[in-house]
Amino acid sequence: MSGDEPTAGGATGSVDYGDSARRPAEGGRLGWLFDPRLLLVAGGSVAVVALAGLVQVSFGTYSMTAAQAWRAVLDPAVLFDPRWLLNFLVGEELMRAITGFQGALPELTRETLVVWNIRLPRVLVGAIVGMNLAVSGAIFQAVTRNELASPFILGVSSGAGLMILLTLVVFGGLSAFLPLIAAVGGSVAFLLVYAIAWKNGTSPVRLVLAGVIVGTVFNSLQTGLFFFADDISVVQSAIQWTTGSLTGTDWEQVRMALPWTLVALVLSLAGARQLNLLLLGEQTAKALGMSIERVRFALSGVAVLAAAASIAVAGIVSFVGLIVPHVVRTLVGSDYKRVIVGCLFVGPALLVGADVGARLGMGVITGADAQVPVGIVTGLVGGPYFLYLMRRQQNVGDL
């Protein structure tokens, strides 16, 4: 054994197995990350996010040039001041608790304040939501072995939507807890779907069918509730939640979603190997010793957590979770480790990009100072792109 050689098994992947054993499938623990296609996807996506983010922070009621905006984003007064950074990331109270700093924070320029206080958090929330939805969709597509699966296939969106409507229309007093209620509604609907699908275990088809059943009933109830809304503003608010919107998102939303996002993303990366095995079919996975029901439920739970985190801050943004995994698979292949990592980049690129259209598009087209929910833009962009993928490839998803 080469265990006594200090270099063996290192992360470089340069272990020599002789000529009969060439290399392990992964060159070292992180060797698979340095796949040129994956790097290209990540780089391209970061560029899109940066560009869209720059547009987002430059334009608005208080317009500035790109250079001004860039300077404001990279303002050393914030970037190199942990107090300001913590103030944004964890909130003022916690910042004071952590740093023990009691005085007034140093003054910032007007540009920096506008960018950091108002515009940047929206970009960040967009990126977080994009990541969550993309990863959630990727997981659900593997778990259900269905190329048309999205984060919302197992009843999550209908459960969340119903709870949103109930809260807005019936229990108006609870609207402060709307994000939480929506996320909980989605999770409960998912559990309900699982319970319906369960009969000596589940199967992908049973799960999808149960999702359709629960979705149909909940959507009807949701639509029915619209009739009881006596105020147009309630209806608008409801539509904003059920189509997904980043309007008015703030650091508050970043703080709310970030911890759950981190948990969900770490778990989904850890589960990538299980997802890969699920792609070989239930029988093979079982024959290789996977406790398939447990793994399937756990992975679905991770996906629901990611979806719920995004629902809590942005409502039900459609299409992102459906198309991003497809795009990523087309670009980096079907290995789920790469797919998940790719989703972490492409998801934000799509959502932050689409949010530019949602926030500024109406102003450009009609001159009116109005925003549309970002979910409308992702649908408008996503649909045709999906069509393009479908025309170009024989096997769209290669699942």
């Binding site: 063996a8 499938a25 070989l280 024959a287 292949g333 079907s334």
Partner: protein, 295 residues
């Protein structure tokens, strides 16, 4: 059931579970090979009211090749799935070296027992090598990366399955026969003591059928792996197996060495064909003459 008398050696069919391992093969049975023993198995599917297999016992001779044969729908795949713990038996038990497979940890079982299913699906874009590495799943902990032992097992499996020239090809670009070799390499990489193969040669061209047969023959001559294989082709079964078990209607109708099981009587009773069976030095040669109509 007149068919019970088909088997000339008149083995005890009614309940003897160890007859295969016990009687004839004991002289060459390797002691370190694993022993798979299905006892009074009742196997069925939740959707069907009647069990497919109703109280049959089957024991795989350690280190040897046991072939399950029978007409379509005779329950041979069901029996194999039952042995592999893919279907939980309604009654009876499967013992692997004396331990009930149903109570074993799934990964621990997968380290001892491998199953090649009839239908295997995989993403088109993964390479043969990546596919074969999945066979190491039961040997790896949740966060463990592949080790040198994994790499060696994969190399050996790819070598044994003869698909070294395919290792970097994408699975989606392979022919049916090449795919089957890749999947066989996957179960070989699992490095199990018992290997269950469900119709590994069906739908393959002659060349790939022979490739698969040769892999099984290699395993047989090593006598370290206990193999149970479902085969459609009687001649193939006779040629490759140490023991043949013939099923019909979910019942075991005959079992024993190929030359005793593959007979004209069995063909007419179980497979419902008139045939000539000639003993050759490569085992019995079967020439089917005509299908038998009516009962």
């Amino acid at each position: 059931m007149s068919i019970e008398r088909v088997n000339a050696t008149d083995r005890d069919e009614s309940g003897g579970s160890n007859d295969i391992a016990g009687a004839r093969g004991s002289d060459d049975a390797a002691t370190d090979a694993s022993d798979l023993d299905g006892q009074s198995l009742v196997l069925g599917y939740p959707s069907a009211p009647e069990p497919v297999i109703d109280g049959e016992s089957i024991a795989a001779e350690p280190g040897a090749v046991t072939a399950l044969v029978g007409p379509n729908g005779s329950g041979k795949s069901t029996l194999l799935k039952g042995l592999a713990n893919q279907i939980a038996p309604d009654d009876g038990s499967v013992l692997l070296d004396g331990r009930d497979v149903h109570s074993m940890d799934t990964k621990a079982l997968a380290r001892k027992l491998g199953l090649l299913s009839q239908e295997s699906t995989s993403p088109d874009s993964i390479t043969v090598e990546e596919l074969v590495y999945h066979g190491r799943y039961p040997h790896r902990g949740f966060f463990e990366r592949t080790t040198e032992a994994d790499a060696r097992a994969v190399e050996r499996a790819i070598d044994l399955a003869g698909c070294g020239h395919l290792r970097d090809r994408e699975v989606g670009s392979l022919s049916g026969g090449q795919k089957q070799l890749a999947w066989i390499a996957l179960v070989l990489a699992q490095d199990t003591d018992v290997l269950l193969l469900d119709e590994p040669t069906t739908f393959l061209d002659l060349h790939h059928q022979m490739e698969v047969m040769e892999i099984i023959e290699t395993l047989r001559s090593d006598s370290e792996v206990t193999v149970v294989v479902v085969l459609h082709d009687l001649e193939q079964a006779a040629r490759i197996a140490d023991r043949v078990v013939a099923l019909n209607d979910g019942e075991i109708r005959a079992r024993g060495p190929p030359e005793e099981v593959v007979t004209e009587d069995l063909l007419s009773e179980v497979f419902r064909v008139d045939a000539h069976v000639v003993d050759t030095d490569r085992g019995p040669r079967v020439t089917p003459l005509r299908a038998r109509h009516g009962e």
